[in-house]
């Protein structure tokens, strides 16, 4: 008995699906390579095609056909059903490709690891400002129907602030949100704030390099072209210790 004889003898069993699961997979793989068996299996399927009608029919309930047709027509197409799976598969393939590439390029992996370590260190540093804050200031901001706020954590030990701006919409075209330190000798320009109602803007700022002590902070809406040291726009928030 040759190896192929096994396939010849089990063609009907394959069509009947009485092979064991492993045998069924083996047979299916064989069909890809063997035209003769593939042809014979198709012929057997046709010859035994009516066999399920040995079971008596079951009369469906009234309206079954219309109801069933409605469900068929309401179903998303096969591709739409499979899109999430396809997307997941694509992501997996990309991830696998990335992983393989990284494995082959140890230098890139080390650089990535170093970058992640730096990010983690920055987060830990920011968290330390919040945990060590000796003063917390907050004020509400109302603007164009939006209710936002400004929150400042001051860490005297490290001379840094954590500043959180929340609840404000993105600045209109041609304008920017500008954060200022208020000192005994005047306003000191700090950073622009990228506001977004979806999530707060979060900044860790060093104290300005001026001799005069810091007394408070302000948030203004400035023309984007204003690069001077003095605020010229609308003041939205003003807090003083």
């Amino acid at each position: 008995m040759t190896a192929h004889d096994w396939y010849v003898e089990n063609r009907a069993a394959y069509v009947a699906r009485s092979l064991e699961p492993g045998e069924e997979r083996t047979f299916r793989d064989h069909l890809v390579r063997c035209d003769e068996c593939a042809r014979e299996v198709v012929r057997l399927e046709r010859e035994l095609g009516w066999l399920p009608m040995g079971v008596a029919p079951v009369a469906p309930a009234p309206g079954f056909a219309r109801r069933m047709a409605g469900k068929v027509l309401d179903r998303p197409s096969r591709w739409r059903r499979r899109l999430p799976l396809a997307a997941a598969a694509a992501i997996a393939v990309v991830a696998a490709g990335t992983a393989l590439s990284a494995r082959d390029e140890g230098r890139d992996l080390r650089a990535l690891l170093s970058a992640r370590e730096s990010q983690l260190a920055a987060l830990e540093d920011t968290l330390s400002v919040l945990r060590q804050a000796n003063m917390v200031l907050q004020t509400q901001i109302s603007m164009d129907g939006y209710q936002g706020g400004l929150l400042i954590f001051q860490d005297a030990a490290s001379h840094r602030w954590c500043v959180i701006v929340h609840g404000l919409p993105p600045a209109p075209l041609g304008s920017v949100y500008q954060f200022w330190f208020i000192t005994e000798t005047g306003m000191v320009r700090s950073v622009e704030v990228q506001a977004d109602t979806q999530r707060p803007a979060f900044m860790t700022l060093p104290m300005p390099g001026v001799a005069a002590p810091v007394m408070g902070a302000a948030l203004t809406m400035e023309p984007a072209i204003n690069r001077s040291g003095e605020p010229k726009g609308v003041e939205l928030a003003h807090v003083v210790f």
Partner: protein
């Protein structure tokens, strides 16, 4: 391979004794239905469901012993057919055997996923040695169930098998059991199972030949 035996005596040939004109009519009818399905004619889908669902529900309910799950499978079959009918070649099988094959394969997949053979078999035992006739032959005719004559022919072909071969076919084809599961169920060697099935399928292939050109 054993040689096929001649068809059992008395097995009716559903289409061989029918007028050629009638056969041409149903062939044309199926071709038309298939064309309309390919053209996404929703009324054609309704007609296909009306014609095929009694038989699809019959096989799936018999295999799954669960009318709700059987209906789910039938829905999958029609959805699959609706998507794939355009890719069927003109030389492909008649529509109903194609649908029946999808239904049976889906039902077997579900049975194997369930991994609840003992419960399933306990239920199936109540159905007797062959899939049950829920409708008595005297109560139906071709008008009530198009394809009824095919059922009669197939049923007769199954009945003509020796009892031990019929039982093997019932467990393999209508209950989705594998060789080893049938051997355990019947407490016989696996080689005996394979032999019985091989002999049975050889006989059935010959007995079902006259049905091959029956179409919806």
């Amino acid at each position: 391979m054993p040689h096929p035996e001649p068809p059992p005596a008395g097995t009716p040939g559903p289409s061989s004794d029918r007028p050629v004109a009638w056969r041409a009519l149903v062939l044309a009818g199926e071709a038309s239905l298939r064309r309309r399905l390919v053209a996404r004619d929703e009324q054609a889908l309704v007609e296909l469901i009306e014609l095929a669902s009694p038989w699809l529900l019959g096989i799936t309910q018999s295999m799954l012993s669960d009318s709700d799950e059987a209906e789910e499978v039938v829905l999958e079959v029609f959805a699959s057919a609706w998507e794939r009918v355009g890719s069927l070649g003109v030389e492909h099988d008649a529509l109903l055997p194609w649908l029946l094959r999808i239904a049976r394969n889906r039902a077997i997949d579900r049975l194997r996923r369930r991994r609840r053979w003992r419960l399933k078999l306990a239920r199936a035992e109540a159905y007797g040695a062959l899939p049950p006739d829920r409708v008595r032959a005297s109560e139906v005719d071709e008008a009530a169930h198009p394809g009824w004559h095919v059922h009669e022919s197939v049923h007769a072909a199954l009945e003509s098998l020796p009892a031990e071969q019929r039982e093997a076919v019932r467990l393999a084809y209508f209950q989705g059991l594998t060789h080893s599961e049938i051997a355990r169920q019947l407490a016989i060697p696996m080689g005996t199972v394979k032999t019985r099935l091989r002999l049975a399928f050889d006989k059935l292939r010959v007995a079902l030949v006259p049905i091959k050109d029956w179409v919806l």
